[in-house]
Symmetry: C2
Subunit: 136 residues, 2 copies
Amino acid sequence: MAGNYSVQRETIYQVLKSTKTHPSADWVYRRCRDVLPGIGLATVYRNLELLVEQGRAIKINVAQGKDRYDADVTPHFHTVCPICGKVSDCDTDGVIAKALDGECERRGYQGWSLIFTDVCPDCRSIKQIKISRSDQ
Amino acid sequence: MAGNYSVQRETIYQVLKSTKTHPSADWVYRRCRDVLPGIGLATVYRNLELLVEQGRAIKINVAQGKDRYDADVTPHFHTVCPICGKVSDCDTDGVIAKALDGECERRGYQGWSLIFTDVCPDCRSIKQIKISRSDQ
DNA sequence: GCAAAATTGAGAACAATTCTCATTTTATTT
DNA sequence: AAATAAAATGAGAATTGTTCTCAATTTTGC
């Protein structure tokens, strides 16, 4: 594997590793520009994709809007807020993850992706406000 | 709910109900045109979205490419082929589905979406050919 | 330090989906 | 069944997220 290093690539990986917000490519791009003002958006897309191929990151495909990336490659799953699209880690005892791994093993599947729908705390409170307003 | 009927809407729903292929909006559009040559693509998108809102269909968000729709709204999950993108139903004993429903109940989530990655039979055989070719 | 290979940045290109709006269809009222 | 109001349509423009192209630059291996 010749090459496989560049300032940009390393920066992108560090930015991704430094957050738990499951950011979009665009968010990573903006954060990278703080350090490397000249970095291009295509470079960010390219390298995020490469990190996924290398198994150093995962891509989370949410219903509407942009794909999200995560440098946490340990098996885990996510909740997505159906209102704002926010992605959060799902704290779990691991029983379900183990069951899914087992299912893959038995059936020869390559992997799984599990997403729960959950209105996030922020949207929950805004929803409350809306409900009480329309009640008046 | 005034209205809620149109020839187009009904046709779109019938087309979707008539297949197990988890089609894209575009595929539904082409099938509808056999019956209604003048139907517009936007109408198909609009109504598929409406069917989802009404709980008469689900939308399956696959990694790359177009969203897929399914008129089977009973809880079940899918495999997606990482090569050609084909979506198939996952025959299951229901244990996992029950576990996920239970998790939603306990945590107050609204729902779940589970997708397994599985190279489909077609792509599996093409892969074999490719492997044996590059072996020569 | 030099040549080959890999990577970059900029913007064009692309694909899927959504939006706009004048026209048509459907529902409601009389 | 005519008139009116409400809902939905088709066409194409617009938008969005992502990928592609390619000349210039950076990195690698000697």
